[in-house]
């Protein structure tokens, strides 16, 4: 009836030091965190992130991971614990989603402004009201201005690789790093992941403060001190692009700040980020077979934003967004800020299912000039 020939290292799920496992993106993140050996983990449960920290708590209970898991009463405290532990020189991790990220928002600014390395996974989910537990990018885009590196994975393999890369990059540039993964379609979807165990260098950071030290940080600033600190963070965030690109080949070779998919000879480019880029690639392959010259620029990092790659597109551009500001999509605004005149569609808000057929329809309307700015409802 069908012909499915196993072709992936048939009969073996081992490829050298790599082991193939069936994992959700949540589980893949937890596996990566375990390999990075954090000293302190603190989190408050929230759907759809909870399985990440539940897995880590289990690893600690079984003695597979030697870390302190600090249970707290809120996300605000979770980030405060991470902040304090990082100040003392601990490798730290937390995870959250949606309302949890909103609740810890203030502390996200403190940890970034304090220039402390930290890693947070965000299983990206809509924010109420009205109440909704499903996926979109409304939560993680709120982090744009706080001074974080923000990565967006496409699948469980990338969630795994990016989480490992996050510890290295964050600790080199002294900027916290958020790893985004789509709610449910990634967080709870099990797929084949190659697990490998790279050596993550020991924790390093610009400064640390121990209880025995006579040292105060973040006192009231006068004159230009705050502005200077903010400027330095912005410059270093820009420059972190080089570190991300340099370390990319050690962590899966996913393409650096962006992934170019079938863009070389394209007359039309779609710009998207997150898990649904997999569906977009399938849609693009189908449209290519029909003769349309279309490709995908997948945004892997919302911060630092890949301005150069966007400016170089040189063809007609459509941005498909999973988060809006006013009527416009947030990624649409980002792309427009690079001087690229782009059409913009907002879709998939609150977990509305957008399949390959839907994307084909949207892409065709765009190529036929029937699209300006709209919501795909």
């Amino acid at each position: 009836m069908w012909n499915l020939q196993g072709n992936v290292q048939a009969e073996s799920h081992r490829n050298g030091s790599r082991v193939r496992k069936l994992l959700t993106s949540n589980e893949a993140v937890a596996e990566a965190v375990k390999i990075a050996k954090p000293d302190v983990i603190s989190a408050y449960p929230i759907t759809p992130q909870s399985p990440i920290v539940e897995s880590l708590a289990k690893m600690i209970a079984k003695g597979e991971l030697d870390a302190s898991f600090v249970r707290v009463e809120s996300e605000h405290s979770a980030m405060a614990v991470i902040h304090g532990a990082a100040t003392a020189g601990a490798r730290v991790f937390t995870a959250t989603s949606s309302h949890g990220l909103a609740y810890m928002f203030e502390m996200c600014w403190w940890i970034a402004g304090s220039r402390l390395p930290a890693v947070m996974a965000v299983a990206t989910r809509s924010i109420g009201a009205p109440w909704n537990i499903h996926g979109d990018h409304t939560d993680i885009v709120q982090l744009r201005d706080a001074g974080w590196i923000i990565g967006m994975a496409e699948n469980a393999q990338e969630a795994f690789d990016m989480t490992l890369q996050a510890f290295c990059v964050s600790e080199e540039v002294n900027i916290p790093f958020a790893v985004g993964l789509d709610a449910f379609t990634m967080s709870h979807t099990a797929e084949v992941v190659e697990i490998w165990e790279p050596e993550i260098p020991p924790r390093r950071q610009a400064y640390k403060v121990l209880p025995s030290d006579n040292f105060a940080v973040n006192a009231v600033t006068m004159g230009k001190a705050r502005m200077k600190a903010r400027y330095d963070l912005a410059v270093d965030l820009e420059n972190s692009a080089k570190v991300i690109e340099k370390t990319d080949k050690d962590f899966g070779n996913h393409g650096g700040l962006v992934e170019n998919y079938r863009l070389d000879d394209a007359d039309f480019a779609v710009v998207m980020m997150g898990g649904w880029c997999g569906d977009a690639k399938d849609a693009i392959d189908m449209l290519r077979q029909e003769g349309f010259k279309i490709g995908l620029l997948r945004i892997r990092f919302l911060r630092p934003f890949p301005k150069k790659a966007v400016k170089e597109l040189g063809c007609e551009v459509l941005v498909v967004d999973k988060a809006n500001s006013d009527l416009r999509g947030v990624l649409g605004i980002e792309v427009s800020s690079c001087g690229v005149e782009a059409k913009n569609v907002v879709a998939g808000i609150g977990g509305v299912d957008v399949g390959v057929e839907d994307l084909c329809r949207i892409f065709k309307d765009f190529m036929n000039g029937k699209l300006e700015m709209e919501w795909y409802l």
Binding site: N3, G6, T189, W276
Partner: protein, 171 residues
Amino acid sequence: MLLEITIYCRGGQGGVTTARLIATAAMFQGLYAQAMPQFGPERRGATVNAYLRISDKSIRRRSSIRNPYGLAVFDKKINLNSSAKLGIINSPNPIKIAEKTYYLDATRIAERNELVYAGWAILSAPMSGAMAKALEIEISYLEEAIYTELGEKADKSLEAAKEAYEVVRWT
């Protein structure tokens, strides 16, 4: 080739676990696979879906399955309107739900192997055995998958899956 299967079950019957067992077995067989629960609150007794994709190439799409090639139905009382090519149903008698339907009394196999929780037969082992047969996944890979997913608690499930693999019939 991409094979898309939708599992119809009731919350608590083990549909999501089944998707995961088959996906793991397919991976051991050298294929790519993806197992997705229905997104949203799962309630005991309510109809829930799980989605399963198997392919010889890496699977990129992650939207829901709209026109499945195959169906696995854990409770024959669940109403279906399908044009699927392949069906697997928990029923002692043949009930045609697809062009080719596999059927077995999965509930009895689960009960005989004491796979019962709070009065409910847990059908993941027998239904995964039947699905492995229907999807041409070797029983040894399913056994490995059950052991990987369930660990020390795997014994009864292994027996039930092997029995289902043997006794399932088709029409």
